[in-house]
């Protein structure tokens, strides 16, 4: 018995004495996510051709099979039954033909008549020109659509007639007009301006370029990953891409200047005329899906649940060296459901409801007063892997400082007035990825200002103090939210997952995604706080926090292993 006790003591001494346990958890990958989509290793960028087919959700994506940097780009392929748990299958498209030898770049899927999905994608060809290619499923009766065959007609669209071969890419999902012709947009830059080139086809093989682009902008450069789709005016369900329903508005989206921008407008299918409400960057207007790190996004219509779903690429904010050490780079956002807001002036996004299945261990508060200058911890959840929803009730609105938002850049305002700068009404919000001593914190917060007879709400996500580590991009993001604090509560939802936080303000009116890489606040050393650094008290109407269960995101080869009983 005595020898047994001595043995156990020695064992623990060995384990803890020379710090073995500590270094193990460091090696393990503190930044890998638990419920966000990412491949087991290597580089990922744009989401490609997402779709729902025969009960299965498909996601393809730009992938480097060999390294954690961009290159050798293939279309990797994963499937899911619930948009949360995924199975990785073999690559769908590899760069092994003259028309895509330098990369199988981004593209989309379209359902042709008879429910047949096809892929249109950009190939970087043997002469380093960008061309558009077609691929079809090898076997339509395989609901997993594991194999794809490239068309013998490739390339279908080439950069002729004044199109710059280096600025011709990212074909959209096609839509059919009343004349039966298919239409597709390809991203382009003409004379330094962003263009959405419009092509038409009857048979999906022979494409004719329309003289006029669907739309263009003199205020932007190249349009990458364009997207064009209808949204229902009554804002209840998503709408099919080819829908010609009159009670819709159309969304035109383009990726440029490191973010995804969209405009709303009216589309006339007969003339292919698209007239926008307010144009890209016009009169200070700049509608974005997300005011943080979010690029190359793409939507698809989920016919099963009648939803328009958005995927976005969330790039790393650390260095290439970090990426190589980690062995991976790049995440996808949690898929978001898109609807037109009641005002009709913007889109609303919300994480798909399926993600709520991962919630466990609810911690709840109601009607909690947050005095000016106070912080309180939300404990009882795994703060590095959590979902938190909080709504704030404000009563001292008249004390809000004056501000004229018309000439203010919200991002700049958030960096100049970080959460340590006391305001009247605000800053208040949450401290995510916080270390116990608060030397590390990712601050997601609001400030309320007065402008004439109205109130202006600013939302910020400040990563400048997120990590004691150097060599990272620690940016600050900001946006104004169209919320009236006089008549509604100010709400925030944040999905926290090891090195990413996706924040949704005003029930999805403004979204901000950020990447952080704390040194201290990792794994079980992470804390979550609610705070108010304003002069006046703020009331937390409700706060709900959950730990999030890990999603099952596995490779199909693993499942082929035989069971041993």
């Amino acid at each position: 018995m005595k020898i047994y006790v001595v043995f156990v003591i020695c064992f623990f001494f060995l384990l803890f004495g020379n710090g073995r346990v500590q270094s193990l958890s460091m090696e393990q990958q503190p930044y890998r996510t638990a419920y966000h989509f990412q491949p087991p290793k290597n580089w990922m960028n744009d989401p490609n051709g997402p779709m729902y087919y025969k009960g299965v959700y498909h996601l393809f994506y730009q992938y480097n099979p060999y390294a954690a940097v961009w290159g050798n780009i293939t279309w990797a392929h994963s499937i899911s039954y619930d948009l949360v748990n995924w199975i990785h299958h073999d690559n769908a498209l590899s760069p092994d033909d003259p028309f895509d030898i330098n990369g199988c770049w981004s593209g989309s899927t379209t359902f042709l008549s008879g429910e047949k999905p096809v892929i249109l994608y950009t190939g970087s060809d043997i002469m380093n020109r960008q061309v558009q290619n077609l691929a079809e499923p090898k076997n339509l009766s395989d609901p997993l659509l594991r194999e794809w065959v490239k068309s013998s007609h490739n390339p279908l669209m080439t950069p002729v007639d004044g199109i710059d071969p280096k600025f011709f890419r990212d074909p959209t999902t096609a839509w059919q007009g009343p004349d039966g012709l298919w239409r597709v947009l390809v991203g382009n830059q003409m004379d330094g301006h962003g263009w959405g080139l419009l092509y038409r086809s009857r048979d999906f093989v022979t494409w004719t370029r329309s003289k006029e682009p669907l739309h263009s902008s003199t205020r932007t450069g190249m349009w990458e990953c364009p997207d064009f789709y209808p949204v229902s005016i009554d804002g209840k369900d998503g709408v099919d891409t080819s829908s010609l329903d009159e009670s819709t508005k159309h969304v035109l989206k383009a990726s440029f200047n490191d973010s995804d921008h969209y405009v709303l407008g009216n589309y006339m299918p007969v003339t292919d005329n698209f007239s926008v409400d307010t144009d890209f960057l016009e009169n200070g207007s700049d509608l974005r899906y997300d005011y943080g790190k979010f690029y190359a996004s793409k939507t698809f219509f989920d016919i099963d649940k009648k939803r328009r779903i958005l995927w976005g690429w969330i790039q790393e904010s650390d260095s290439t060296t970090d990426g190589i050490e980690k062995g991976w780079s790049g995440l996808q956002s949690i898929p978001r459901s898109i609807l037109l807001s009641r005002t009709g002036k913007q889109l609303i996004q919300w994480p798909v409801e399926e993600i709520e299945k991962q919630r466990t261990g609810n911690v709840s508060f109601e009607n909690k007063e947050l005095k000016g200058g106070s912080v309180f911890e939300v404990s009882g959840i795994t703060a590095s892997q959590a979902d938190v929803e909080v709504s704030f009730d404000l009563s001292n609105l008249k004390e809000a400082e004056l501000m004229d938002p018309s000439s203010v850049d919200p991002q700049l305002l958030c960096s100049q007035k970080t959460a340590s700068v006391r305001g009247n009404v605000g800053p208040f919000g949450i401290l995510a990825f916080a270390s116990k001593d608060l030397t590390e914190q990712t601050v997601i917060f609001f400030r309320v200002f007065r402008s004439n007879d109205q109130y202006v709400v600013l939302m910020c996500s400040d990563q400048s103090g997120s990590s004691l580590r150097e060599g990272l991009k620690k940016e600050t993001y900001g946006a104004f939210i169209d919320v009236d604090p006089l008549h509604e509560k100010i709400s925030l939802r944040s999905l926290i997952d090891h090195s990413i936080v996706e924040s949704f303000g005003g029930e999805g009116k403004a979204c901000i995604t950020a990447r952080v890489y704390p040194k201290l606040a990792i794994d079980n050393q992470t804390h979550l706080y609610a705070f108010n650094n304003g002069t006046f008290d703020v009331n937390i109407s409700t706060l709900n926090a959950w730990s999030m269960k890990k999603a099952e995101i596995v490779s199909s080869t693993k499942r082929r292993k035989p069971h041993h009983y």
Partner: protein
């Protein structure tokens, strides 16, 4: 005869620039471009000292800058390796920092510069901007590894600044490609 005389007089008064459009025109492009970058001096010096800048368009100027980045990074890597081989003179902290810098500079040359050149080749220029920005960050990360005096301060600064200029030119290139 009169018209010939008139033409002669006219020609005499034309500015000399008109006869050297390529050279001076391009000096204007180099000037205009470098003025839009955060490090004007190193931009001008790197471009003007390359004979290839003479008839270069914006894309070529960006390429020259990246080639300069590769050269400077390679020189720095050689220096770090030399310093490490003076093993006897090194204290452990210095050795650790130099070893870390070797990794960073290998990433700059084999990772970032490779990515940038691939991006130029295929036309996906935002990856050239990303690679250049990362190279600047890697050089900075190397510099801050040294707890006391860094033996690489000047070289790290050059690599950093050249990278920032390269990223800057690529950014300009993406918005004004066909115009310039």
């Amino acid at each position: 005869m009169k018209s010939l005389m008139l033409m002669f007089v006219f020609l005499m008064f034309l500015p000399v620039n008109a006869f050297r459009p390529t050279l001076l025109g391009n000096l204007n492009l180099i000037e205009r471009t470098c003025r839009q970058t955060p490090f004007y001096d190193i931009c001008i010096w790197s471009l003007k000292s390359s004979p290839e800048s003479r008839n270069a368009n914006l894309k070529k100027l960006a390429q020259i800058m990246v080639d300069s980045l590769k050269t400077r990074a390679t020189e720095t890597l050689y220096l770090i390796e030399e310093l490490l081989h003076d093993g006897l003179a090194l204290d452990p902290a210095m050795k650790k920092a130099l070893t870390s810098c070797i990794e960073r500079y290998n990433v700059i040359i084999k990772g970032d510069v490779h990515e940038i050149n691939e991006a130029f080749k295929t036309g996906n220029y935002k990856f050239a901007e990303k690679g250049s920005n990362d190279a600047a960050m890697e050089a900075n990360s190397c510099e801050i590894e040294f707890p006391a005096k860094s033996p690489l301060t000047d070289m790290n600064k050059v690599v950093h600044d050249v990278s920032v200029v390269a990223a800057s030119i690529v950014k300009i290139m993406q918005t004004k490609f066909s115009v310039m």
